[in-house]
């Protein structure tokens, strides 16, 4: 009911029109939730879509607000929707020109955790992708400096994965303490 009503009142947003025109095969789903457009994009075309969104003069999503991921392994409904992809990499974009937001989500399967890096498009993406790598273990292909950023370099595991415990064994032991002077 609601959906029908919205379609009547509002024309299709420009960004969706243009994406359907240029990257129709990349779109897995599109939705508007709480005032923000959300599109889900195939991993293979993710870079091309993001590049298009940034460089198209009419869209001009020049501001990459955030890059993060969600581990959907304990959310059955989300898993089923996107072919049991465990992770969802989430890009928040903002266009200063159109003053509007867009959320781009890319499903990533656990058996292939690589996704193209957008650090070449937005320099701000560098650390955001490093944090996502650190916390979730997503490998950003072509990233200039993919190291841990918040956790120590010799840390094992990815703390924001759902199978990583809030507390428990395995965290303290991996730090390198200076044992000689103890």
């Amino acid at each position: 009911m609601n959906e029908e009503k919205e379609v009547e009142v509002q024309p299709k947003p420009l960004v969706l029109q243009k994406l359907e025109e240029h990257h129709a095969d990349a779109l897995l789903s599109q939705d508007e939730t709480r005032g923000t457009l959300v599109i889900v994009v195939r991993k293979e075309q993710a870079y091309a879509v993001l590049e298009y969104l940034k460089t198209d003069p009419e869209l001009a999503y020049t501001f990459l607000v955030d890059v993060t991921a969600v581990d959907n392994s304990q959310m059955e409904s989300e898993l089923m929707q996107f072919d049991y992809a465990r992770f969802m990499v989430v890009y928040q974009l903002y266009s200063y020109q159109g003053q509007c937001r867009l959320r781009v989500k890319v499903p990533v399967h656990e058996n292939d955790l690589s996704i193209p890096s957008v650090a070449g498009l937005w320099r701000g993406a560098n650390w955001l992708e490093r944090e996502t790598y650190d916390m979730f273990g997503i490998n950003f292909d072509g990233h200039p400096d993919l190291r841990r950023i918040l956790m120590p370099d010799d840390f094992d595991g990815h703390p924001l994965r759902k199978d990583y415990p809030l507390r428990g064994r395995g965290e303290r032991e991996s730090f390198n303490f200076d044992k000689q002077n103890v």
Binding site: T33, R34, T36, V38, T62, F63, L64, V65, D66, T68, V70, D71, Q74, M75, S77, V90, Q92, Y96, Q99, R101, R103, W122, R123, G124, N126, W127, L128, E131, M135, R148, I149, L150, M151, P152, P159, L160, Y164, L166
Partner: protein
Amino acid sequence: MQGGLERATGEKMVLNFGPQHPATHGTLRIVLELDGESVLKATPHAGYLHTGFEKLGEHLDYNQYIVVTDRMNYLSPLSNNFGYVLAVEQLLGIEVPKRCQYIRILMAELSRVADHLLWLGTAALDLGAFSVFLYSFREREKLYSIFEKTTGARLTTSYTRVGGVLRDLYDGCEEDVRQFTNDFPKALKETHTLLTRNRIWMDRTKGVGPIAADDAINYGLTGPCLRAAGVAHDIRKAEPYSSYDEVTFEVPVGSNGDAYDRYLVRMEEMIQSCGIITQVLDNMPDGPVNVEDNKITMPNKSDAYGHIEGLIHHFKIVMDGHGVQPPKGEHYCATESPNGELGFYIVSDGSGTAYRIRIRPPSFLHFQALPHMLEGGMVSDTVAVLGSLNVIAGELDR
């Protein structure tokens, strides 16, 4: 950028700046590669204060998490409280009463002034202007007394609740705040006379750590750092939340994007905030401060103790799995915190605990852009540039 000095031909020297350097104001580190006095390469390191705030968000319920938000940008905890509950409320699809919205604006703007004052004091102190530190802390103390009387705490305010605020303003709050907004512009003028045309201050900040507008956008800078580079963007104007569309204010913009412009933008923002505060006090509506929905906000103490319904509602909200439960879905909510865009991306699976909370901290992206501003400059400018960005370690590492 070169400071008029020829490059020395000697070997490179690596200098560790931090993690415990007086000018980092927190635990962060910059590895500087120097050629004489000029910076060839700067590599910022973060993570010393990582506390797992995002992981905690998956284990605490929506109201419990408010105390964690206090500890993000600890110069302006009220703004973090505000940004977080706004995200939860938008996820729930509720709107708080007008009076609550106004109280939240009032507190957010007061904390913006407090944040900028602390920034001003410490940034000036780093460059040797000790009196400014004393002047700004004197003013900040007045604000902290107001915060203490309103929330019961100076630093860990935890003032907002999902669907409202902890309690209404105290009696005499309006007088205290009006007294402050009356006196403050005069006090700020004193600081202007100390710094704005001060030869040393100008030499240390003008043309130091500049960033162009398109670079600032590319790096994801927000808030005063972005506006100093000449981009007139303020989330309070572009996407007005919580009745910000009912107050008028100017968005100060710089032109060079250097440390001096960041200083001027913040100075003007404080004056604009005072204007907002005065408007909010003039138009403060009466009425309840919490949404009248017993499934979201706590009942009065007298109800909880005196009536069975009140007791049940209290019990339901406090018990795990019975309290605030947003519908399944996700939401990203951005607010203009004193440092820039503070965003909360919350994914809900319909339970009383968030499935995922992502905090988008402004300081994280500001610190990342530091090498762009430092490289090619002088080593002594590192302190000036770092100071002008106001990187807060609690928010940087979360």
